[in-house]
Amino acid sequence: MMDAGRHPNIELLDYSEVVEVQGYVGNFDVRVRRESRYVDVVKCTGCGQCQEACILRRGKGKLMVPSEFEAGMGKRAAAYIPFAQAIPFKAVIDPNSCLQLTKGKCTQKCVDACGPGAIDFEMEETFVDLQVGAIVVATGFTMWDPNQLPDYGYSKSPDILTGLEFERITSAVGPTEGEILTSKGEKPEKVAVIHCVGSRDERAHAYCSRFCCMYSLKQAHQIKEKTGAEVYSIYMDMRTFGKDYEEFYLRNRSEDIQFIQGRPSQVTVDPVSGKCFIEVEDILLGRVRVLDVDMVVLATAIEPPPDAGRIASTFGLGRTPDGWFAEAHPKLRPVETATAGVFLAGCAQGPRDVPDTVAHAGAAAMEAVRLFNQGKVTISPTIAVVDAEKCVGCGECILSCPYTAIVRNVDEKAEVNPALCHGCGTCAGTCLSGAITALHFTDEEIVSQIDALLELAV
């Protein structure tokens, strides 16, 4: 991220969203909405004086806002730098909690504190229009909410954490400064790490989220190393598929961590002691066990972001039944999409871990570069053509085209853009005046096939 921020040929449009894409491979017109961050990024030096001055911070924690980066376990002010490695390292004002922006009433200490005078409460969102040749969609994933399966008891106790929340607890700059502590501030004596929460589960997501096995093993290892607690790793199948991954698993197995193969049926919380009880069938022992633990870490599934549908329609992408964006071919064209010139990188296409994401993103970037170096594209001869003599200009074909490849030209006739047409023939099936021909699938060809086939004896 740091490298991308510093690269002279990369222009980062942070806090932005693509709202419209027109055109076709090599000639995309993209409209980007830049949200207002109420801070002039050119003037802001990232000194952080505004977050110290913010009146919400002066409220001594009570008024402060739960920090998204700390997974709600830390607090932040309304004017803040999102996290220590943020790119760009500039402040932003949260319009949902800032007193000036929500109530219009504030002493505006941040404005006084800001040396360069970067804060501007009047700032409005802007739109940027870009002309680009290729697009890489790398919109990532979101974490699945474990409250959707109440058996895991996620919201019943503050000591039942998701893997991401545990990451903050174990981080040296996190809310506990790296000490693994329960919500009571004590060192846990027994901790359970549960794999496949929401993944490989017909009730949530049938697919494997792929990287949870490895981070759960890492977390089990860290708990053992930092606290010496009794650690239970409850898994369905251990999917340590990558280079050196199996070795890490074997190392964990030699570290006095209890591995239990099975899927927990429920997690309950004792209301007095706050202890968590996990009922799980150990399928290797062949009996049900009840574990009492002080802390539970859930390796929750990942899922496509909630606005994946909108992103798909903006960029003309297809989606697989599980909701991820569809690649052109699962094995041979894993970064290309149904729309030429639009490529996929990372978890936008499906769950994958960091090394696989780096490789996938590199492939997407090279596909885009290859396109530019060629300077031209090869298209299939199976496209639609319009007979202007027959076309009455009703526009039904324009509505039927999945690729917006048909436009009405100056003569009020339909015109197919061969670079956008994929040759599905839906327009030809729609056209009432027979003006559109789907090349290689013309009406005459299909009728001849029908007649020839029906002459055969069955």
Partner: protein
């Protein structure tokens, strides 16, 4: 009606899902009726109502249109057009006196070879029951 009557069924198969599904049914040696005469189109959206009627006029006893499942179309939403258009065929068939069960629209993905075998078997059996199209068209 002779029990041995073998109907002719024209099947419009989309290139990406149903044609591949039919292919896989063949590779897997799944028995499917020989009465099905496949016509490959790139997308089920290519099939116009006239094309279906043309097949009946040429003597087909039944017409099948198979495409990708809704949401899985290779061409994003070509099959949405098919699903909107095909009820018209039912109405037209009823209007001109052809039994509407002689026409069926269904979805078969490339992975659903067993479904291809099942749909074709069921449809051919239903058309065989209805008998030759000549009974209904007198021209």
């Amino acid at each position: 009606m002779s029990e041995l009557y073998e109907p002719k069924v024209v099947a419009f198969l989309c290139n990406w899902c149903s044609y591949a599904g039919a292919d896989n049914a063949g590779i897997a040696r799944m028995p499917s009726p020989h009465n099905v005469l496949p016509i490959r189109v790139m997308c089920s959206g290519r099939v116009s109502p006239e094309m279906v009627l043309r097949a009946f006029r040429s003597g087909a006893d039944g017409v099948l249109v198979l495409g990708c499942h809704i949401g899985e179309c290779h061409y994003i939403d070509g099959n949405h057009r098919t699903i909107k258009r095909m009820p018209l065929v039912h109405n037209l068939l009823t209007y001109i006196g052809i039994h509407p069960d002689r026409f069926r629209l269904d979805w078969v993905s490339s992975a659903e070879a067993p479904k291809f075998a099942k749909v074709t078997k069921e449809f051919v059996a239903a058309v065989r029951e209805l008998g030759p199209i000549a009974k209904e068209i007198k021209a």
